[in-house]
């Protein structure tokens, strides 16, 4: 796991949140973990393939997810915001990963992303592979998000 994989995600997350929600995200912590297992109740998983491959797992709590959706959907009624919360946060994850992939791919390569998959609730169990992971925590005045980056360079 290269530590430099973290910077494209920090930059991308700051820009995407600033653009979509006007929230200023700051880095609270950066640590190494043994797997991308999320630690918050809502998680969004994206796969990456190409010269760099692996998973990026975003996680956050319900309150922050709703606030993000509300800011992305100005003028919409609470029921509609609630219905679109998962879509909103998965799109945030998609935009952050897409933006970070521009830096990761460089000039000559292409990195493919899978569509985001959202999982919610405390009662589901998921096993993640043991992949060295950079775990970032970004915080704002409305809440925080964890970004677990489990990427490796493809062999061969």
């Amino acid at each position: 796991m290269k530590a430099e994989y973290a910077n494209p995600f920090i930059r991308a997350a700051s820009e995407v949140f600033a653009h979509e929600t006007h929230l200023k995200m700051t880095r609270k912590s950066l640590e190494l973990r043994k797997s991308p297992m999320p630690s918050r109740p809502i998680c969004i998983i994206l796969g990456i393939t190409g010269p760099i491959r692996g998973q990026v797992v975003y996680s956050l709590d319900e309150g922050f997810a709703y606030e993000v959706a509300k800011m992305m959907l100005p003028g919409k009624l609470p029921a509609e915001i609630k219905k679109l919360t998962n879509s909103a946060i998965s799109e945030i994850a998609n935009m952050i990963t897409g933006k970070a992939s521009i830096d990761l791919a460089g000039e000559d390569h292409t990195i493919e992303l899978t569509p985001p998959a959202v999982f919610t609730g405390e009662r589901f169990h998921m096993d993640f592979l043991s992949i060295p992971t950079i775990s970032l925590s970004l915080i704002s005045e409305a809440g925080s998000i964890e970004i677990n980056i489990a990427l490796t360079e493809a062999q061969g």
């Binding site: 992305m72 679109l84 799109e91 998609n94 935009m95 000039e107 292409t110 990195i111």
Partner: protein
């Protein structure tokens, strides 16, 4: 009024694109994956399409190829978070008219679409 189809797997993005385009264009169809997109495109034949790239079942690049195979004059604007240089180059060289990278400003989308129908000066 020109007609449009919005292709994006995220409901929030389809809603937002609809809000941006609707005063000026009529949205006649929405699709949330590549298979649905190709089937609806052939049924509706909209004047233009906004097309995401990262989608379930068939990705946007394959959808772009499918649409252009069916209608070489199709007007397609890509609206995607995957703004990598090689991806942008591939989409434009296949025949997409413009590539808007998410997150976007509403004006950027309007300009891209308005340009599709602008009369060219010769």
């Amino acid at each position: 009024m020109k007609t449009a189809m919005i292709i994006d797997d995220a409901a929030v993005m389809r809603l937002r694109l609809r809000d941006i385009l609707e005063p000026r264009y009529e949205i006649i169809a929405e699709a949330e994956d590549g298979v649905q997109a190709l089937s609806l495109y052939n049924q509706c034949r909209p004047d233009f399409v906004t097309l995401d790239i990262t989608m379930p079942k068939i990705d946007g690049i394959a959808v772009l190829q499918g649409i252009l195979l069916n209608n070489p004059q199709a007007k397609v604007v890509i609206v995607s978070a995957v703004g990598q240089k090689q991806t942008v180059f591939k989409a434009l060289s296949l025949g997409a008219k413009d590539f808007v990278v998410k997150p976007f400003d509403p004006e950027r989308v309007r300009t891209a679409v308005d340009r599709l129908f602008a009369k060219t000066l010769t």
